[in-house]
Point group: C2
Chain length 186, copies 2
DNA sequence: TTACTATATAGGCAAATGCATATATGCAAA
DNA sequence: TTTGCATATATGCATTTGCCTATATAGTAA
């Protein structure tokens, strides 16, 4: 799936691995997070498959960069994936909920502290997503060779981030309240 | 992480791999989904680590089963994990949002259909979570050797499932509306 | 009788993931 | 002068995952 994310961006314009990491950090963090080493690995693999080609570009103030360009084959791969409807939902992996599930015997105060830390983290992400205006997104899209129409879709995914973080914070608040309402064990 | 989920359940009582799959299907689906073969692999690995032991149990109406029991070492591992506070958030991987992000040129009607299919799926999960009463959960807990206190924590994670599905449906409705409000491309 | 379903365990294998590490350039700050 | 940071690419490696397949028992349905 990471490969399609990368092909999606390379479909707008040619980019280096480092570029891909940066653009994903600002525009897909709320639904697709990855790590630089995985991007480089996926680039190798995509090039081996013939979905992209690369060439080295010299820079005088910065290290050389290898710039990747999507091929017709890559474009076809991307289109196939986009055209295939999803018939299932992405399964969840939420470490915090897993811990909560088994935390009946944990110290209540420590648990609450842990949930408060999570609240801070989610609050921060919420503010990040809320702070991105459509104008910001259109500007980003412009830099990437994407259109204002693309920006509208990017904004829809941003909204999902906002709703998700608001929901998460609401759950944390509710849960902290429930924990406070219960006397500590023994 | 799957290993801790399994140790968590085995901490309540001895179980087979098949049992673990069944209990996880009804109680952790909204935050931890896994597949039978992964459970069996993790059991092998946990036994090799000394965290659990096993013995074969004969049944006359059903195939033999291998029942796993947590060891003191396993209990200590679990406790260590429970005691370590999470300092980050679980990164997201949401295939639908990734597709949406790159779907500006897709056929609007097809997109809406796709979102409606997702809506049905999420609606179904919401109803499942909403249908689980505290009494149901306490009963499940009882079968598993867990206490009513444990059931309260299980219920907190169930609530997260309800809020998540409600949020997801709200986002789908909002997005469908936005797509309907825009004329089809060309 | 045959096929299917539930119960039960497990191996194979490719791909993805996570995390650490190595290398190198050029700039700015301490 | 040295340290750190941003830029830039890449490898190694163990673990996890996803998914498919094989095997076996027993009961039920067609």
């Amino acid at each position: 799936m990471l490969k399609y994310a990368m092909l999606g961006f390379l479909n707008y314009r040619s980019l280096s691995g480092y570029d891909l990491k940066r653009i994903m950090d600002v525009s897909t963090t709320n639904f697709w997070v990855t790590d630089l080493s995985q991007i480089y690995k996926a680039l190798k693999s995509l090039e081996a498959d013939g979905a992209i080609t690369s060439s080295v570009e010299a820079q005088d103030d910065k290290p050389d960069r290898r710039v990747y360009t999507i091929t017709d084959e890559g474009r076809a791969d991307l289109q196939d994936w986009l055209d295939t409807p999803l018939t299932d939902v992405t399964p969840m992996k939420e470490a915090l909920l897993l811990k909560m599930f088994f935390s009946a015997n944990a110290d209540r105060q420590q648990l609450i502290t842990q949930l408060m830390i999570q609240r801070e983290l989610h609050k921060g992400m919420l503010q990040t997503y809320q702070g991105q205006t459509l104008t910001d997104i259109e500007q980003n899209a412009g830099f990437m060779g994407a259109t204002p129409e693309d920006a509208l879709f990017w904004d829809m995914t941003r909204r999902a981030g906002v709703l998700y973080e608001e929901m998460y914070i609401a759950w944390l608040d509710e849960t902290i309240k429930r924990l406070r309402g219960r006397k500590r064990k023994q």
